[in-house]
């Protein structure tokens, strides 16, 4: 039995069909006119651009479908520029497709390798150059050049040091300490418990020395949201309840998912919503996650009042705030 399969014959290239413009002078004339119209549209675009720059005042607005209330000056500048560029390209392509030569030609490839005599000549030139520079003889230059080139190679490694330093325990601690007052953000005013009505919220930061500067990296960890509910609305265990004060509860504002500011508080449902990925936390149950991608409740800050009646932290956060990181213990 023969294993041979009958070879499929090379069908060759299909016959080249000429365009109508190649054979019919009328069609060619028509294509020429089309190209000219496209170029004229481009010219019209440029005229629109210049005209709208000069004649349309900057404060004219009108209703444009889909876009809504739109500034006429900017819209016509943009439309004019778009038309002037787009139709040049379109005309050029239409010209190439319909009128430029349409003959199929075969260009034979030649070998990429240079002829032997050229290669020999090149090697000779390099060798002569090296000999003339005297690298072989002047070893001082050779070695110092080697040293400098080697050191240049090292410099990117040194620049990699800017990827550090390692964060250490920076991610695990915030500026909150026992007795730190909660102050309004912005405004830096300490807050008394009676300043907050039921249903009120306040954005707070830890108090700093007057005139001191808060680093942005600190604000990003320290931001705390104060919320006042009716005390009977809480559904907390005894420890967490002792972290609240007269219905005022404090949570880290930094989402435990990706670190966005969680501050969409819905007063009626007592839900806190993160605007980035819709993680939803139930304030009455110690910010338990009830919807969304977040894996952990928001850290709760234990608060109380000091001798002057201002709200203060009872203790630092008992867990790192914000999103998970590699070294996080829980």
């Amino acid at each position: 039995m023969s294993n041979e399969i009958e070879a499929i014959k090379d069908p060759g290239l299909p016959a080249h069909v000429h365009r109508r413009a190649d054979t019919d002078p009328k069609a060619a004339k028509k294509a020429e006119r089309q190209v000219a119209i496209l170029f004229l549209l481009s010219a019209l675009g440029t005229v629109t651009l210049i005209g709208s720059y000069i004649f349309i005042p900057q404060d004219v607005f009108f209703y444009f479908p889909v876009l809504g209330n739109t500034n006429a000056h900017q819209l016509f500048l943009g439309l004019g520029m778009a038309a002037s560029l787009f139709f040049i390209g379109m005309g050029a392509i239409h010209w190439a497709k319909t009128l430029m030569p349409d003959e199929e030609v075969i260009i034979q490839r030649h070998e990429f390798r240079s002829p032997d005599e050229d290669r020999a000549e090149f090697i000779k030139t390099v060798k002569e150059g090296a000999a003339a520079a005297g690298l072989g003889r002047r070893s001082l230059i050779k070695r110092s050049l080697g040293l400098s080139l080697g050191l240049v190679g090292l410099s990117p490694l040194i620049l990699l040091g800017d990827l550090g330093p390692l964060p250490g325990d920076e991610l695990s601690k915030t500026s909150w300490k026992a007795g730190t007052r909660l102050v309004t953000d912005p405004g830096d005013r300490p807050i008394r418990a009676e300043d907050l009505e039921v249903g009120a919220v306040a954005q707070t930061l830890p108090e700093i020395e007057p005139g001191a500067h808060r680093a942005l990296s600190d604000i990003g960890k320290d931001a705390v949201l104060l919320i006042r509910l009716r005390p009977e609305e809480f559904n907390l265990d005894a420890e967490r309840l002792s972290w609240t004060y007269e219905g005022i509860i404090a949570f880290s504002k930094i989402c435990s998912h990706m670190g966005c500011a969680v501050a969409l508080y819905e007063q009626q449902t007592k839900h806190l919503l993160c605007p980035c990925h819709q993680s939803t936390f139930d304030v009455t149950r110690a910010a338990k996650v009830i919807f969304g991608p977040s894996a952990r409740p928001l850290p709760q800050l234990a608060i109380t009042v000091d001798s002057e009646g201002y709200l203060v932290a009872q203790s630092p956060f008992n867990e790192p705030v914000g999103p998970s990181f590699w070294e996080r213990s829980s």
């Binding site: 876009l67 809504g68 500034n71 819209l75 969409l264």
Partner: protein, 251 residues
């Protein structure tokens, strides 16, 4: 001659101000006030009591109005949210059912039974004079922008609820919303955001409202959502069309 004219001008400006100021804050006499409360009670019994109860005590479908104050009544009724037409996820702004006089009467009645936040007077709403746009912007970004959008255009909350746009809201209603916390909105107490800071927020919102769209189309000023939609549909559609045309063989 000139100093005399100046003195005359200053004098006339001063008197105009005091006369105008006096005209806007005429205190009601006791009799007028009690007539207003009676009128408010009549409107309340007819239009509100079926849900909020004959004595403001509330019911299964509507909250008690004891202690909500005149500010809350003015916000809810004058923006058309109350009386409510559609009791679904959110009570929406619509053309008000009651006129200004009737709203004032309702507010007087409700606040006569239990005290609460008062309607801010014209003189305490002079945000042009007492507010600062820069400070207002900072306060807005910290306290308001997460719900109402960075350009005060409004945004989504959970389960079909939303924070409405602040465009076209009167300064008085913005102020009242801040002190009463309507629907999902929390209360912003006067101690954590002072009245002057509230005026700054209003001034910033009014500045955002008046900001001309010099960049051309604003696309609703809601950020990457509409911008992306436009680019992914119109922009990419155009590119696909051009690519198809480029690859088409001319005949």
């Amino acid at each position: 001659m000139a100093p005399l004219l100046l003195a005359l001008a200053l004098f006339s400006i001063g008197t105009t101000f005091s006369v105008a100021g006096a005209a806007t804050s005429t205190p009601l006499t006791a009799a007028e006030r009690s007539a207003l409360i009676d009128e408010g009670q009549r409107i309340f019994l007819k239009g509100c009591s079926s849900c909020h109860g004959l004595n403001l005590e509330g019911s299964a479908i509507a909250p008690s109005l004891i202690g909500v104050g005149a500010a809350s009544v003015d916000f809810q009724v004058a923006t058309g949210r109350m009386p409510v037409a559609d009791m679904s996820q959110q009570i929406t702004r619509k053309d008000p059912v009651y006129n200004e006089k009737e709203v004032e009467a309702l507010a007087a009645y409700v606040s006569s039974l239990a005290p609460g936040p008062d309607v801010p007077g014209e003189e305490s709403l002079n945000y042009e004079r007492n507010g600062s746009t820069a400070e207002g912007g900072e306060l807005f970004r910290t306290n308001c922008a997460m719900c109402h959008n960075f350009a005060a255009q409004g945004g989504a909350l959970t389960q079909g609820k939303y924070a409405p746009t602040l465009m076209g809201v009167t300064p008085r209603h913005i102020y009242e919303a801040l002190i009463t916390g309507p629907q999902s909105m929390p209360v912003f107490s006067d101690k954590t955001i002072t009245p002057a800071e509230k005026l700054s927020i209003i001034k910033w919102i009014k500045a955002a409202e008046a900001e001309p769209q010099l960049g051309g189309a604003s696309l609703g000023r809601v950020g990457p959502v509409t911008e992306g939609l436009l680019v992914w549909t119109l922009g990419l559609g155009l590119l696909v069309g051009v690519a198809v045309w480029l690859a088409m063989k001319a005949r």
